[in-house]
């Protein structure tokens, strides 16, 4: 009891500490001062009256949402004496691996830089600044020569690193036993099995209404859809983050999705936020970074070639270029196993006083990075709001998909979860694919790293991301990947090479996500 209490007070203290520096705090203060004018506030019962006022005016709800947001994002400290690295990543060998990977990436970036003799950053001449400002809304029309640039890394490079990950304390042994893991990932992390997943994802069960299933044309809307929409509108009216997160587990109606996501991520577009975005835009105009070219190349290679996202090309530049310069993103490295790469002012290599984070937000984009933003363009059209939503999605979820950590939503755990599910529940398929040299993870890895963006049809992708927000976890990506394999198992059993297996799984655009998940979790004999 005592331990829990002291844990709780520690958590409260931490959250208060964090919120004190936020905008909300100053707003609440202002509101409290302003409320003194109101007749119902009396000096004798000042504290209670102000609290009451906050409750009625909706400010308490805002505070509630902010606290809930903090709880969702920040991991709770395990032990008061734990050093900050443990918050990033408790396992030493994982930290080491991440550090080595980062060194490699930075080396690759620096060598590209020296090869092409392009500085990592330079100030733009005034003429160029003017030009860029004029073209801000149509940067996609620019066709700079990007042939010499290569993406710093692609998902398959990252996969190789994960495959070679080993826990030095864990002895696999040479003899095969029923405990041997036959997949590519060879680290012993705890992952859920189907009974546990069923408990975790209980709202996806067969007896609960779902958008993505129970809103199809054959089902009359009175059975589920109408009521669900009504509840959604109510949740939005109440402006309650926690309720919205619970609600969205059953899917979000198309018309309400943009607002619901903003509510769950606790994004409200205050003038300060718009100003902040404008400031970032100014930074982009004034300085040119090497990563800008990487971003350009990535957008041109991926999103511009997509049948549906090509329309949003300009928005992608507007978001990603600003994102690279946003130093507020650095704060997420407190709980990210990765660390922002450091660069040194020319000639001052090794001197800490001359070190800067490069890029300013500490995130080096890889091949396919722009696909994290593309689906969001479907929902948000105002650049600063789109930006905020993307940034929040990144620091809550997406960063886990390309950093090495033991977190249950980290990519390593997702890969292991995927392989374990397949090995346990589709052993024949798994064994067959392994025999023909088509390890399933080699195919599904790219889906998970991109959170299926660009592989599924947009409406299906949004239904999937609804659930990511609802459950505050990325495990559903691994479950879906396994469900896709289960769905195409018959065809996969007949292939005889990796290329053929890839061909069977090349086109996911016709898949309906929710029925697949439901069948895999709740309707398969385990």
């Amino acid at each position: 009891m005592l331990q829990e209490e002291s844990d709780l007070s520690l958590i409260i203290a931490q959250i208060v500490q964090k919120l004190k520096g936020s905008n909300l705090y100053s707003q609440l203060e202002r509101q409290a001062w302003a409320s003194l004018q109101r007749p119902e506030i009396k000096l004798e019962s000042l504290k209670e009256d102000i609290k009451e006022f906050f409750k009625i005016s909706g400010w308490e709800k805002k505070l509630q949402n902010a606290v809930y947001s903090e709880l969702s994002v920040f991991p709770l400290p395990s032990h008061p004496a734990a050093p900050p690295e443990h918050l990033k990543e408790p396992l030493v060998y994982m930290r080491k691996a991440q550090g080595n990977w980062e060194k490699r990436i930075l080396k690759s970036l620096n060598s590209m830089c020296t090869e092409l003799s392009i500085p990592l950053a330079r100030k733009r001449p005034v003429g160029e600044q003017k030009e860029l400002l004029n073209k801000w809304n149509e940067m996609g029309t620019d066709e700079p020569d990007l042939s010499l640039f290569r993406p710093v890394y692609a998902p398959k490079d990252f996969l190789e690193v994960l495959i070679n990950l080993r826990n030095p304390n864990y002895e696999n042994g040479d003899s095969l036993s029923f405990r041997t893991h036959l997949g590519l990932i060879q680290v012993p992390l705890k992952v859920k099995d189907i009974p546990e997943l069923k408990e975790c994802f209980v709202e996806l069960g067969l007896n609960t209404g779902q958008l993505g299933i129970d809103d199809s044309t054959q089902v009359p809307p009175e059975l589920f859809e109408n009521e669900h929409v009504r509840i959604g509108q109510k949740v939005l009216a109440e402006q309650d983050s926690a309720a919205a997160q619970q609600y969205i587990r059953q899917g979000s109606p198309t018309a309400l999705r943009a607002e619901l996501w903003a509510l769950i991520l606790n994004i409200s577009s205050e003038p300060e936020d718009v100003l902040y975005y404008e400031q970032l835009k100014t930074n982009v105009i004034q300085h040119d970074l090497l990563v800008d070219s990487l971003i350009y190349k990535d957008v041109k290679l991926t999103a511009s070639n997509d049948d549906y996202y090509f329309v949003f090309e300009d928005y992608l530049y507007q978001v990603l270029l600003c994102f690279s310069r946003d130093t507020s993103v650095l704060s997420h490295f407190a709980y990210n196993s990765a660390s922002p790469p450091k660069s040194y002012i020319r000639g001052k290599l090794g001197l800490e006083e001359y070190a800067v984070f490069y890029p300013p937000n500490g995130v080096i984009p890889f091949h396919g990075f722009s696909m994290y933003v593309a689906p969001l363009c479907f929902l948000y059209h105002e650049p600063s709001k789109l930006y905020q939503i993307f940034r929040e999605m990144y620091v809550r979820f997406f960063f886990r998909l390309h950093s090495i950590s033991s977190h249950p939503s980290g990519i390593v755990s997702l890969c292991l979860l995927f392989e374990t599910l397949l090995q346990t529940y589709l052993p024949q398929l798994f064994y067959h694919l392994r025999e023909i040299g088509a390890q399933p993870l080699r195919i599904s890895f790219k889906w998970m790293v991109r959170a299926f963006s660009g592989y599924l049809a947009t409406d299906q992708l949004l239904l999937l991301w609804d659930r990511i927000l609802g459950y505050n976890s990325l495990e559903i990506l691994a479950v879906l990947a396994a469900a896709v394999f289960a769905f195409r198992a018959v065809n996969l059993m007949e292939v005889t090479s990796l290329a053929a297996a890839e061909a069977v799984l090349a086109d996911l655009s016709t898949l309906k996500v929710m029925p697949l998940l439901q069948i895999f979790l709740f309707a398969t004999v385990t």
Partner: protein, 436 residues
Amino acid sequence: MSRPKNQNYKGHGLSKGKEREQRAPIRFKTALMNTLMDVLRHRPGWVEVKDEGEWDFYWCDVSWLRENFDHTYMDEHVRISHFRNHYELTRKNYMVKNLKRFRKQLEREAGKLEAARCDFFPKTFELPSEYHLFVEEFRKNPGITWIMKPVARSQGKGIFLFRRLKDITDWRKDTRNSDDQKDDIPVENYVAQRYIENPYLIGGRKFDLRVYVLVMSYIPLRAWLYRDGFARFSNTRFTLNSIDDQYVHLTNVAVQKTSPDYHPKKGSKWMLQRFRQYLTSKHGPQAVETLFRDMDNIFIKSLQSVQKVIISDKHCFELYGYDILIDQDLKPWLLEVNASPSLTASSQEDYELKTCLLEDTLHVVDMEARLTGREKRVGGFDLMWNDGPVSREEGPPDLSGMGNFVTNTHLGCVNDRKKQLRQLFCSLQVQKKASS
């Protein structure tokens, strides 16, 4: 049908009437070598005839029609893919005339409000005949942009934008004094149309919608609306500053293909389902419903306006491609109607859409005589107008104008045509067996 004009008529069709064997092959002819050929060749029981052979079904092009229709005898069951004077609807100057006349009639009969529902066509003047009327309108609205379109050309050829009268007086002089202009080449007719300056933009780009309407007859008017279609995007960002940049303003794929920005890998097209979802997530379902109702209105009114003019031959049917532009207030505008919409596929998705469209067209034309004629839906086609509005609900239509009349159109909605066709043909077979 019409008596043969001279002894050189070509007879087409089988000589026997009712004793037609069920398994007799249906002979088709077409000059087009694209998706249509694939669909026709794969249709069970259909054989191709070449050159001068007799045919039961001809997907012709309009030039053949112009030269041969009048002295061609066709048996009752024979079908041809155009109406004789379809240009009343598809040539821009005729369409404007017909619409204006229809609007006047509507105003007389049903009042100003009803007539206002015909205001989906931007103000248009035929040149050179209505030049003075045009100048009057031009002077009344200084500073707005106008678009000049040749009456009979397609694929975006010959179109330009202008804001000053000087631009077209120069052009008039050019065409008159040009040395190339010989007397036997007719001076082209153009229309000057008010350019819609506030188009709805997605991702900063302008787009228009291509929608398919199948008309089986004009008297009575029977029209079907296909659920699928697409939005065609311009490759460059929309701005009014670059009037001369043809690529910005014209969204025809034919023009976009020549734009230096055009990358063939980029589809530049969105399926209508995607477009409808996008709008719903941005504006909510009610606004989108209203928009699609307004589009239904465009289709029906445009067809009604030419109903009395078009020669409604029972052998004829026509698949129209409607081009619709949406403005920022979510009001749809009719740009033009195409009697020969492109059937060439620009991508795999496009190929599938056009294949399904043509298959369903042939189902509705029903050379195999399988349908009862009372169907409201065939594959991806919904019966939109059957000598009167068609309701989504079952039962007798509520013509009192009250109540919740919802038209039987599903543009941009789910198209589960395979399933529907299976059910339809199964039940038709059952009915046939029961009645024989």
